[in-house]
Amino acid sequence: MEYLPNILFGVALVIGIGFFTRNVKKLSRNIKLGKEVDVSDNRPQRWKNMLRIALGQTKMVVRPVAGFLHLIVYAGFLIINIEVLEIIVDGILGTHRVFAPLGVVYDVLIGSFEILAILVIVAVVVFWLRRNTIKLQRFIKPEMEGWPKKDGNMILYIEMVLMCLFLTMNAADFQLQQLDAPHYTKAGAFPVSQYIAGLFQDLSISTLILIERSAWWIHILGILAFLNYLYYSKHLHIILAFPNTFYGKLKPQGQFNNLEAVTNEVKLMMDPSADPYAAPEEGATEPEKFGASDVMDLNWVQLMNAYTCTECGRCTSECPANQTGKKLSPRKIMMDTRDRLVEVGKQMDANNGEFTPDGKQLLDDYISREELWACTTCNACVEACPVSIDPLSIILEMRRYLVMEQSAAPTELNNMMSNIENNGAPWPYNQMDRLNWVNE
């Protein structure tokens, strides 16, 4: 029986990490449903972007209040995780505060964890108020109704509870150390939890141990549960922000990709020696579909973008169409892409890993044409995103599908395009008159 806690801990750890691994595999399978895209260029710049934007949070602090608060939670997450390492070693070996021999270093570590923990609690409370009391515009847009709103709050509650458990655990530990309880090594500095320990003054050693152990267990089980919650929530950005900024666009924002499949066809059309009536070669593959009507038509970076989005809404609040009451919200484009991808993934799970058309697609079932045509391609959303997501590239791919596969552009745009075809200008003027402006 002596080793029961160790065994239970081991089992919890294996289940927690096991499930998480399974979900990561699903995540990677879903992302790989996207088309191949060459992102092997300029690796030094990509590393720099990742370090600067993801690790260094440079784009978060563009909005100072949210940026500063996020910095606290982010630092808290990174640094307090060192403590999780100790908890795991203790859990497996049955030790207590195994890193205690580090002495002063240990005191500094525990002390700074505590200070960060209380700062995280403050930040999380402010975040909650921004979402629920102040009701910042970008958190109450239509796409945030229902699950996204609950999800956002849930994450804040979990973080709050975890931090409180951490401090409670330390407070009880501190009190036990004061009482010279066996097994409770005198170690660590408790700049915050010493004040909570005051509440524990009159408690017996056994009650204190019960509190300390309960807090310890719920804390680590909570962390394992949170790890597994990630896959089902918008919170994946804590991991995906890194690859996403690494694979983010390096070219000038205004540069849109040239479709290679189109280049080949256009070259053929312009080649005077080509036979326009030639039958396709034996065994020739069917011409590629132009643009995107569903998630599989997008590339894998765009799909990773969708999973990375944490629904902060900075893109939407900068979008000129959204600011003037149009239906378009770049955040919704990303959420829809993710939701459709999750739906496709679920269907594959239920179908031995094969996807069979389910009569639905990203276009119309998730993203409406009205949204797509409201975009001015101004790149404000791309500029605003703190983790290098490119909603505009998805909008463009879907427009390409509408125009090239469905000939479904708005009438005025069709007029404009036939003008270009006929006389080389978006207006119906004669190309021979191109120089008339000189003498007017």
């Binding site: 540069q255 404000a380 270009i420 080389g424 000189v438």
Partner: protein, 261 residues
Amino acid sequence: MSEALTVKTMEEFLAEGKQPEILFWVGSAGSYDDRAKKISRAFVKILNRAKVDFAVLGPEESCTGDVAKRAGNEFLFQMQAMMNIEVLNGYEIKRIVTCDPHSFNTLKNEYPSLGGNYEVFHHTQYIKQLIDAGRLTLKGQVYKEKRITFHDPCYLGRANTIFDAPRAVLQKTNAEIVEMKRHKKTALCCGAGGAQMFKEPEKGDMDINVLRTKDALETNPNIIATGCPYCNTMMTDGIKAHEKEDSVTVLDVAELIANSL
């Protein structure tokens, strides 16, 4: 136009067996739109004054295809691009200047992978070069007492991170330059990009150009300067929507400089 303009086509240069210093890509708006034509003329006035040996393509120029591409018609875009590249490469063009940030972006960024490699300048960059090289001197009297605010065109600013050239050039007018709250990277679009210029906006509670003009009017300007023919139209319409057309004018950077010569 009081001053006669000297404009030569590439065909004429070829006939003389000469190469121009630079090609002026006029663009469809600059060729046909009544308001934008004035910008083309103002820019040529500057080029003439600086004695730049430039050429235009004239009837051999065709739409860059930018607007088709952004509407989703990649076919039409690449058709246009390849035709233009054939003409440009045929004349062995190396350097291009244009008053339209959309043409600028497309020629500079999207033509190279289709075989068109040129050094491309926005006219504000080119004017700055002319001034810096001492080829252009400004009297800088006309706008001395005026307040000017510059609206960053998306395809010049955010899309290609050119923020300083237009501002540096505007400084030379000796006017007071004031910034809107949202400027440079966070500048709001005028509402014309992405083929919106050619269609009615989707249903909403306001037009984008009216919102952007509001930003500009908050700086109490005499003049809203811009560097894009489409922004120019949108901002001019916005001024009318705010009923400020009597006190505020929208002018291109080229016009402000041409008037300051």
